[in-house]
Subunit: 302 residues, 4 copies
């Protein structure tokens, strides 16, 4: 039985030159920045990666390229969430052939499936998966959750290897931890970086944290402090993460501020371009100026 | 300046043999059933058509086939709603080449765009459209609306030809009617069939009603009664529509009961198969028995 | 068996001199303005009346005074909605003693009762009512609905005399009409004035419309046109109501804009003061200026 | 400057003989049970106490009695949340006269106040308070939050002494902790018991946890372990709390299951009666049997 994945696995933003053109040099710099920063894996085509906004052609290009650039140094996780079962299977197969190590699946997000429908959906899908699957709970965007009863049923599905939870509901997360105890190979990871400290202190395996795109070392150190039960250090690093999130994610008034902020900051850091796929557009000069100023205050640029 | 589309335009269910195989004979029977029933157009790949659940290959097959079977007898509208701008444009182009007459677009449904982001999205997309575009308001599934301010801005976009509203919010619908008065070529259509009578009585142009898959004549007669201001007849036919909806859409406890009910009933009527694409599955025998009984009560089978 | 209540029953705003002082002269002018305008009843302590924001002492004063001023010329309905069963019963008893004719009850609005809990609640409460009771569906503010199944059960409760629906969901409203056909003494009334035309055209008994505070004749005429099936006239008057609502309810960005707008306009019309009870405050000068301008445009002042 | 309140402050259920009769002997046993269990204060008329469901007469009786029974041994906090400003002030004054030490205020819960309206509301109310005030964030039941911007403004309001957060949103909670650092006399407390461990590990002052009604020692020990940074012990006790909550709060399908479960368990433990105020009723025999069994499994009865 394999070991669970542990640590910080950043959900990579997708470096773009325009809505349908990958910034390949940017992707290379980003991959090196993250691996150098000590991350435990790379997750592409998640929410932070604007997965659902990208064409299928571009998604395949990104998968292929990320695997090539990573060269097996860390696991590569690929988001295969889709409203179409067939397209999810297609993406999973492509990912396996390209050399990815895991796939990540949130509920189909147009029609909200009721719990028994969702269970049947997961059961059907798992049998078609060529790679271990993470269930990705993201009710804020998919409208429905993977309920803990479903997760309990998934303990018996050989293809499932864990859960990523981005619900912001730590009661749910603690229940996941309890459920997952029966599968010591499972990994229970948390999405929002503001919650990684407590998630790990109380039994979680790590974080899929957007801010780690920017400053992977900070998140890796926070994870390590929490994993080694160094509470004082965890609190300090958690406060730093709160400061980064409170600075970079709060420019502009829309929910898209988080992804826009990360992309803009990476562009200022010289790592990659900050184009976005619709329905979003990158920050204009005014917001970019504020992000730059905040990066200075955070000590990330001078 | 062209005339607005008026009348009943059914959102076709997608006849399937399995999750990724079109029931071509079923589609042919359905198209003939509807055109014979007097409908003013056919709308494929909408919500009732499980559009987002189908593979892109199947969506293209369905578009091509519907256009071929229709042979220009009525307009063919194609749903191009997608979380990816590029895939929406691809579908629109394919639709134009296949001979469709209009495209229909709901907001991208993974990331909720804020009003200014949505406006920019629509502006960008309209310039790429090879066919007239209906805005499709469906906040229950897309999380966000096309606000009336955006619709007002769309009056100046040459490619837009109307709005379909499935919000169930008749106050919003009445505001749409007011706004659209400035564009006499626009069509303002309502989704839920329970609301078509009042929509047309108070100035709307027709309905995109799921139940018209089953019994197109009923919906066409109700539309005509309302359009000719025959209030007594409208009330009688509205009561019949309420009875049909109350019978066929209320088997099973989940929100999917509407599409499942229509597909099951069409299968019992001998029109097409009732397979579904995940995350749904067709009704089992118990529910099928109830639907059959209700079709008898409605006088649709003996 | 009695006749159902029909027509326009305005939900009176509560004229206040400050948060806990009734503007008695204003109330008198308002009552005369409405009765002169042809309304079929007066409803105090509803949502528009800021019922839940008022002290119990003030609520009793308002009930007593309204009944005295009305002198039996029209029915007086009193909102007794409360999170406390005991306080609802207390208010109902006080209303009966003061000479009111009906009470109006929305679901308790702190704890959301599940359907079986709500049924038990209504069953318990009805037995304590000294006056006929309207069920008041207002899910936007009470979080839960009176489901149609509960309304069907209420057909057998002698004390219930109808439903007021402010859900803005006309599918629900049409189902209410169907259900209520078994109780010819029941009245099914709609809250939002934008929906009164279609509600009455398709079988409803009238409207409890906030805007009727301002211009009762308009609403009464619209009701009469719809009740006599004069469709052309109904459409014209509906368009006027839409214009009034679109003018007076859209100043300021918050949901409170409707009540604030009505109170401000009544104050400009010289009918009563426009103080409000917390959590709201009346419009300041800037908004008041806009309301005044719009009243001019509507022809309500010169 | 005073010290912040720290530790476990149970939100007392309200022992009832029927909807409007206090179980005084039960209240006495409950107060002794809790003080003996080491709690840092008693909070009456909160959500768990069914505050909004009780008549004002009963609320006053409960306040008076709790203060008398407590005899100053621990602080007594009183919930004064109300949709009527005037009634909130009345309750606060009564509480002060009765000997309570703090009042607790959630947003008015009928009309959702927008942020600027809420700020004005809090500013107005604070000036009328005879006792230090806790802001109580409970968006699941009040529909709106006390946003962090408002809390920041409240730092300058002398009458405010802290925040109780029951949003289940730990990102919000961590932001509260940051904000409150400027007021070393403030106390930031968390509602849901499943979150008390992490709240205290990362800087919070304690928990207002419903389950502490049942087993105060467990919650007090968990608080102390977290407050003294004994991580291993905190994890064990947190797991025990999760087990208690997972056992007692999951009988019955409705949201009311938590309060019903606590009351039923206290009745089985011989502490007080388990009547409830509408819209709820206590568990029937079937559910009571399950609760009894689970209390055995938890080792709370034999």
């Amino acid at each position: 039985m394999s070991e669970p994945l542990r640590g910080i696995i950043p959900p990579l933003i997708t470096p773009l030159k325009d809505r349908d053109t990958l910034d390949r040099e940017g992707l290379e710099r980003l991959v090196e920045h993250l691996i150098k920063g000590g991350v435990s894996g790379l997750f592409v085509l998640g929410t932070t990666g604007e997965g659902p906004s990208l064409s299928y052609r571009l998604r395949r290009e990104l998968i292929e390229h990320t695997c090539k650039l990573t060269k097996g140094r860390v696991p590569v996780l690929v988001g295969i969430t889709d409203t179409s079962f067939t397209e999810s299977v297609n993406l999973a197969r492509y990912s396996a052939e390209a050399g990815a190590t895991h796939v990540v699946l949130a509920p189909p997000y147009y029609f909200p499936a009721a719990p028994p429908e969702m269970l049947e959906y997961v059961q059907d899908l798992v049998t078609e998966m060529p790679l271990p699957l993470f269930l990705y709970n993201m009710p804020g965007l998919t409208k429905v959750s993977f309920e803990t009863d479903l997760v309990r049923r998934a303990l018996d599905m050989p293809g499932v290897c864990g859960v990523k939870d981005s619900s912001c509901d730590m009661i749910y997360f603690h229940r996941l931890i309890e459920v997952a105890k029966q599968r010591p190979d499972w990994s229970v990871l948390v999405g929002p970086e503001e919650l990684t400290a407590e998630a790990v202190l109380l039994g979680g395996h790590g974080g899929i944290n957007g801010g780690a795109n920017l400053h992977p070392e900070l998140y890796v150190k926070m994870y390590q402090a929490a994993a080694t039960q160094d509470l004082q250090r965890t609190r300090e690093l958690h406060a730093e993460v709160m400061r980064l999130a409170g600075s970079i994610y709060t420019v502009g008034r829309h929910k898209s501020a988080i992804i826009k902020g990360i992309k803009c900051a990476l562009s200022i850091l010289g790592i990659c371009e900050d184009h976005m796929a619709e329905p979003f557009h990158r920050f204009r000069d005014a917001e970019r100026g504020i992000i730059r100023e905040r990066l200075v205050n955070l000590g990330l640029i001078s």
